[in-house]
């Protein structure tokens, strides 16, 4: 038990994925150090594609490196930077190196990054990218031209239950699943009632059955980090009472961890949730601590099924 693609189907135990750090140079040893930090605790890692519209080492190069180092990469692909030709070339090229898990995103706009003068592309959008990935998985390019020795791809997508219009998010999740997505990673959010309503809607329309839903849990250090996300990261809203809780705590670092722990436990308590995705901005041993406290992931695979009943 344990391969990410098998868990997406079997749901034998809660899945744990995490955000792999972006890199700006160094060598394969740098990648290997990061792989070693995550490998015992997660089923797969997201390899980001110029996150928040900042250039970094490419998603293709990082996904290949992580795969060769023995950790399962989920190669994110955004629509902002490349047209349909370049995106298909990246997916097929990565697949030739054994990368088979992909996640399709529309992507933050160039104005969110440090080079807002760049041309935005958006030749295709997120749901179209999911469908094109399925076409590649089935053995042809979008043009209809055949691929040789293609592999079946595990395709995922993202959704933001915390952004309006709420009822459209549920429908959009269904659209992505109908287009080929088998897992959905959710945007960061702190409004429990919105997550609950989204998951309930996804239960009603069969998305929870047809795709593994993974809400994101974010490990931060301070109220300042929450304020930054609220003011500067597109699509993320952090309510004032959440920021105040951390700001007024005697030990903000520990309170920030407890916030993430409660967030994870709440998400896992919802019927239909298949696991969690962890974004770590603490860069300490908190990922290890979180999966240990909640007894999640490959390190606790023998305790399968025990965590879904935990509550915050």
């Amino acid at each position: 038990m344990g391969a990410f693609d098998e868990l997406v189907v079997s749901r034998e135990r809660p899945i744990v994925t995490a955000e792999f750090p972006s890199m700006d140079g160094g060598d394969l040893d740098t990648v290997a150090e990061a792989v070693d930090r995550f490998q015992p605790y997660v089923d797969a890692v997201n390899i980001t594609d110029n996150p928040a519209a900042h250039a970094h080492a490419s998603n293709v190069s990082m996904a290949i490196a992580v795969k060769q180092l023995g950790l399962e990469p989920i190669m994110q692909v955004v629509c902002r930077d490349k047209n349909r030709l370049a995106i298909q070339a990246d997916v097929v090229g990565a697949q030739m190196h054994g990368v088979t898990s992909f996640c399709a995103l529309t992507g933050d706009d160039v104005t969110a990054g440090d080079e807002p003068e760049a041309r935005r592309v958006f030749d295709i959008d997120g749901p179209q990218l999911v469908s094109i990935m399925r076409t590649l998985s089935d053995g042809t390019y979008l043009s209809g031209r055949s691929l040789k020795h293609h592999r079946e791809l595990l395709i995922g997508a993202v959704e933001n239950p915390f952004a309006p219009p709420a009822h459209v998010r549920v429908r959009r999740a269904r659209m992505k699943v109908d287009s080929g997505a088998r897992f959905l990673q959710l945007q960061i959010g702190y409004e429990r009632e919105k997550l609950e309503a989204f998951v309930e809607g996804c239960g009603d329309n069969g998305v929870c059955r047809d795709a593994a839903i993974l809400p994101t849990v974010i490990l931060t250090k301070s109220a300042g980090a929450l304020r930054f996300m609220d003011s500067s990261v597109p699509g993320i809203h952090v309510p004032g009472d959440v920021i105040d809780r951390i700001a007024s705590a005697s030990d903000p670092l520990e309170e920030s961890y407890q916030l993430a722990r409660e967030q994870a436990a709440h998400a896992l308590s919802l019927p239909g949730i298949a696991g969690i995705h962890i974004t770590d901005f603490r860069h300490d041993d908190s990922v290890h601590r979180l999966v240990h406290d909640l007894r999640l992931g490959p390190a606790f695979s023998s305790e399968a099924g025990t965590t879904h009943t935990q509550t915050a």
Binding site: D125, G126, Q128, T135, D138, S143, N160
Partner: protein, 124 residues
Amino acid sequence: MLRSLLPIVEHAVKGPVWDCQMCGQCVLHETGMTCPMTCPKTLRNGPCGGVAVDGACEVKPEMQCVWVKANHRAENLPLLPQSWRDEIGHLRAPVNNSLAGDSSWMNLVSGADRKTPTGWKGSE
């Protein structure tokens, strides 16, 4: 003659009313009579994840998200046929960039606006 004249007439009619961007493959009836090409990301299949809590656009915060507006209109505009209201939830194919600047009316008649790449599978 007609081929060169029609885009001018079409833009003169649709530009002032819907801020038509002349993509040549009009889907206004599927999107609550709201042009998706006015979305800064030109998204054809619903709102991105960057919409602010108050419904403002990620790229142009002074503007309401085109897709928030489109969904509201699809649900609330009077006189829209039910099939048009439902179509907002359908997956639309990637834009055919070779049709940009053409009259969508002409492409509607010829069927060029509904022609998709051979490998396009849409959704189930």
